[in-house]
Amino acid sequence: MVREEGKVLYAELPENLRQVIITGHGSISTDALVLLSTYGVDLILIDWKGKVVSRLSAPEMRTVFTRREQYIAYKDSRSGYLAKAFVLAKMKNQKALLGTFAKNRKETDSAAAERITHFKNVIEDLITRLEAFEPASIDTSRPSILGFEGSASSTYWDGIKEVVPEELKFDERSGRGALDPFNSMLNYGYGVLEGETWRAVHYAGLDPYGGFLHADRPGKPSMVLDLMEEFRQQLVDRTVISLASKKVVTSKDFQIEEGFCRLSDEARRALLKELLGKMEEYLAVGEEKMRWCDLILSKSRDVAQYLRGEVNNYNGFYLRW
């Protein structure tokens, strides 16, 4: 139950919840925390920069076997194989999204469509080359895989620049501590995705910190960041671009604070509503229809199954348009 000055704003049964995201100020009772934990509902806190600052979840229920295999896999070719699969799926989504934007602009702005198509084709070429790459253990393969990932990403953002309204002053992709509205929205969106992916990784029995593509660093949830790669474009980028194009969010929704660009509460709510709504939407994946949030969980379980040796391969998620 959510109250403000004694007035009930929102009430929901815990079994209907998947995750509670706290963004902004407020307090939560310990009874509510226990209730959420009992029902396996995660609670995450995201700050205004889009950083997940706290995360509460039910105790680990899985066996240690998955995690043990995850650590062993770091030293063998499974780590390189998974890192390649994550990046390959990411690049395919980048290519698909640029293809969609080019197609949509063909009649209204053919010059922009041509330029976007060019970027899409560059990524397509990188995909072909990465597909031919034979990965070994991640320590050996990381420079090459990151090389492909870096080239594709820089090309992708050059393409995205063509579709972002000029007033949002998007020049290049920057991580946390964004200086422009568009990056600020992306960072916030990735924070929400990180929370959702973290939940999925946790319930799949994986160690959120034991990643492959992202190098080990204290406090860095590398496995979460690894798995997130294949969901960034279709979930977050597409949503943020759509909000910006429809002018739901404009330059007036931002202000510079502590030297960084900060979203207004209204803009943050609009983005959150859109993203969380999308998580509940259904999409067809092979012969199944599932929600986006269930898809993330399903892919986490696929990774765990691959690591445990129950299946021989892992195919990253991507959409073709």
Partner: protein, 309 residues
Amino acid sequence: MYFLNDIERKTLLGRILPSARKVGVSEELRGWNWSDSPLKPLYPDERIPNFLVGSQYCPTARDVFVSKVRGVRGEENNHVRTGSLLHKAVQNVVLSYVDEVGEQSFEAWWEKEGSRTFRSSNNGQEAQANQGWVKSFVETIWSQTSSECKGALMARRSSQPYASEHDVHASALPFLVEHKVDGRLLGLSGLLSVDCYDYLHGIIFDLKYLRPRSTAEPWRRLYCAGYAIALESVYEIPMDLGCVVYISQINGQPTVSRDLFFIGDDLRGWWLEERDKKLEIVAQKKDPGIPNRCYDTCLYTKYCLGEQK
């Protein structure tokens, strides 16, 4: 060729149809939305045949560039000849029953069609050496198809004694064979030819002659996906089922197997990706380059490799 066996029927009713109904197809990927993205072709003035969209033989799709931009006619080989004759034979037999003409003589047909194919071959010796084997292979498929049609007609007649002869044929053999459909709304040729459309069960069939030891790869489903979207664009009704009929040989014996599937979003999206890529090659006259490894029965190998020298 176009009759499902017991196991395939069970698979269709127990797995594919329920799954297709549950999952469904995104509205934007239905052929009748041809005027909107993503179905709307990027280059509305270009046309390519559906077989070039689906073909994945050439890893770089240079076959599209060579045939459509350079206008090169591929060099026919024994594999292509055999495949073409198999198509013609199956078409001939099924149509003879659909049209209520009845059983035809294989020898008479071969004399006309088979011999002519080999006579017109530009690779005389190689073609002649294979003629006997191809004839016997095609004849077996001919007989099998004929028996299937005869059996279906008899079964229908015996179960519906008051049905007219036309009704018996239309329901026992619900096949539009070599059905012509206009694919121009999707950037395809205006003269597409679907191997077979089963109008009672809503299945699009595509016949493929597979080389020995070849495997039934998933991309071969793209042909049916293209025809399904094209049929939807013209008739505005859903086309959800596809079936690739593989004719191959095991120990010299003709073997038929079928790959039955739901034409869902994944497959449609893949087809769109291929169509856009190949239309771009044609529209922009873009040479995608010679692949590192060529398919051994590719019609353009000599042309490409000759150019490379």
